[in-house]
């Protein structure tokens, strides 16, 4: 695969996979927002990017002109063969598909899962608590969401390395490498097909069986294709998103002793701080496909293009958030869009919030003192989901 040309004009030729964007997108977004509420690039076969909260919100709410049938901006746009309802669904199919998934993810359902997540966090911390340094992305934040979702789905937590490989192929390599994407999707489908077959013989009470037992509005069971698509979605959406969000939160606390001290002194503030970390370091950028010509914030929008729906950039818009570039862990008013806006609100938002809160609580309880390792390098994932993939920390008091 040829490397794309480096960007020299962000406003007319942006590339969200450019290493500078991956490393530190915030000044780039500020530059784009200062120029126009919607910018455009010819790269990736034509993509718009709304840069303001208002423009992002308008597009998220407008399912008439913007379809969710493609939710990742890639260099290729092959025929659509596999869907992952409800994230890739538009009205009217969207609502019934979404409603099947909502009950297992309510705040009350998450409370039942919380003790297992606390155990997972402590099992992970046990493995490095006696060390003086750790890569927190590789040994802590990466494993919490994957084990939690495996627990919910009723698949072995020990298969988590496999899940992480597929997700890397689909969300990162897949942007430019169609073979990697197809390989990831096929392997994942094959894996879940096996679990579905097992449950046809021996039903269980996990999320896979819940989906298999679900009935549509005509009283019919979902097709195996629908069940498989939703399972792929839950695994893909449930893992590196929250891995990224927990990682970015720990990264912030490692480099901001005042905020760390405050959360140690006031652990009840952690859920409020989690909302601010979600705003300031939102991991997830979605996409839409333009279906009909329209205008957004005065900018003409034409079919044939994709839209990079950057909730992270919306959350840094100073017109919506005072001191948008400051992380204020007790921010009172915080209508951030980290989990999206409108009908596609992330089905796992309550799960993600619970995992982030528990992961920070347990870490701070056992590792009150930590900082970035000056000898190491923090690296960030590219593309659709942004978060630390390497987070070298020094543990214990500074000597």
């Amino acid at each position: 695969m040829n490397k794309p040309a480096p960007v020299t004009d962000w406003v007319h030729d942006f590339d969200h996979t450019d290493p500078r964007w991956t490393e530190n997108p915030f000044p780039i977004w500020d530059e784009l927002r200062a120029e126009c509420p919607v910018v455009h690039t010819e790269r990736f076969l034509g993509v718009y990017m709304p840069t303001t909260y208002e423009a992002v919100k308008q597009i998220a709410y407008d399912t008439e002109h913007f379809s969710s049938r493609r939710v990742i901006v890639r260099t290729v746009r092959p025929e659509i063969t596999q869907s992952a309802p409800p994230i890739t669904s538009d009205p009217p199919e969207h609502k019934p598909a979404k409603q099947l998934l909502l009950p297992p993810f309510t705040p009350d359902a998450m409370k039942k899962l919380e003790p297992r997540v606390r155990e997972i966090c402590n099992e992970l911390i046990d493995e490095f608590i006696n060390d003086s340094k750790v890569d927190a992305a590789a040994r802590y934040t990466k494993h919490i969401p994957v084990r939690a979702i495996a627990h919910m789905l009723g698949i072995p937590e020990k298969d988590s390395e496999l899940f992480i490989k597929w997700i890397h192929e689909i969300l990162e390599l897949g942007i430019t490498d169609d073979d990697a994407l197809v390989r990831g999707v096929n392997e994942m489908s094959h894996y879940f097909a096996g679990h579905i077959e097992q449950r046809k013989k021996n039903p269980t009470d996990d999320l896979i069986s819940t989906l298999m037992n679900a009935r549509d509005k005509n009283g019919q069971p979902l097709s195996d294709m629908h069940v498989l698509g939703s399972l792929r979605l839950l695994l893909i959406a449930g893992i590196d998103t929250t891995w990224s969000a927990i990682g970015a939160s720990l990264w912030h606390l490692a480099k901001t002793p005042a905020d760390r001290e405050r959360l140690l002194a006031e652990p009840a503030l952690i859920p409020t701080a989690v909302e601010e970390f979600l705003r300031a370091y939102s991991p997830v950028t979605m996409a839409r496909e333009v279906m009909k010509e329209t205008t957004i914030s005065g900018c003409p929008i034409k079919p044939g293009n994709m839209v990079l729906l950057s909730f992270p950039a919306a959350n840094r818009d100073p017109a919506m958030f005072p001191d948008a570039d400051k992380v204020i862990i007790d921010r009172k008013e915080n209508r951030h869009a980290a989990f999206g806006l409108g009908i596609h609100r992330c089905v796992g938002s309550n799960l993600a919030r619970m995992e982030m809160t528990i992961a920070l609580e347990e870490w701070l309880k056992r590792i009150p003192d930590f900082r970035l390792d000056p000898a190491g390098e923090v690296t960030w994932s590219e593309g659709t989901v942004r978060g630390p993939r390497q987070l070298p920390l020094l543990l214990g008091k500074q000597h």
């Binding site: 705040p107 806006l341 938002s349």
Partner: protein, 69 residues
């Protein structure tokens, strides 16, 4: 002394972010899908006014209305 506050969740706007329930659990109930409704008749008991406004100002969908009776 001003009148009582009354909250209302617009069901067409609520998308189940459940921020209101987290911030003001006394004032909101969630249905089986996680969508929020005002608890009871929506009247805010004395002392919970700040929580009502906090919930409103954290709803990403602007689904919460507060009126004065």
């Amino acid at each position: 002394m001003s009148g009582k506050l009354r909250i209302h969740v617009d069901q067409d706007k609520c998308q189940g972010h459940s921020r209101c329930k987290a911030l003001a659990p006394e004032l909101f109930d969630l249905d089986e899908f996680g969508n929020a409704h005002e608890a009871g008749d929506g009247i805010v008991p004395p002392g919970l006014e700040d929580k009502a406004y906090l919930a409103k100002s954290n709803c990403p969908e602007l689904a919460i209305d507060i009126t004065e009776d």
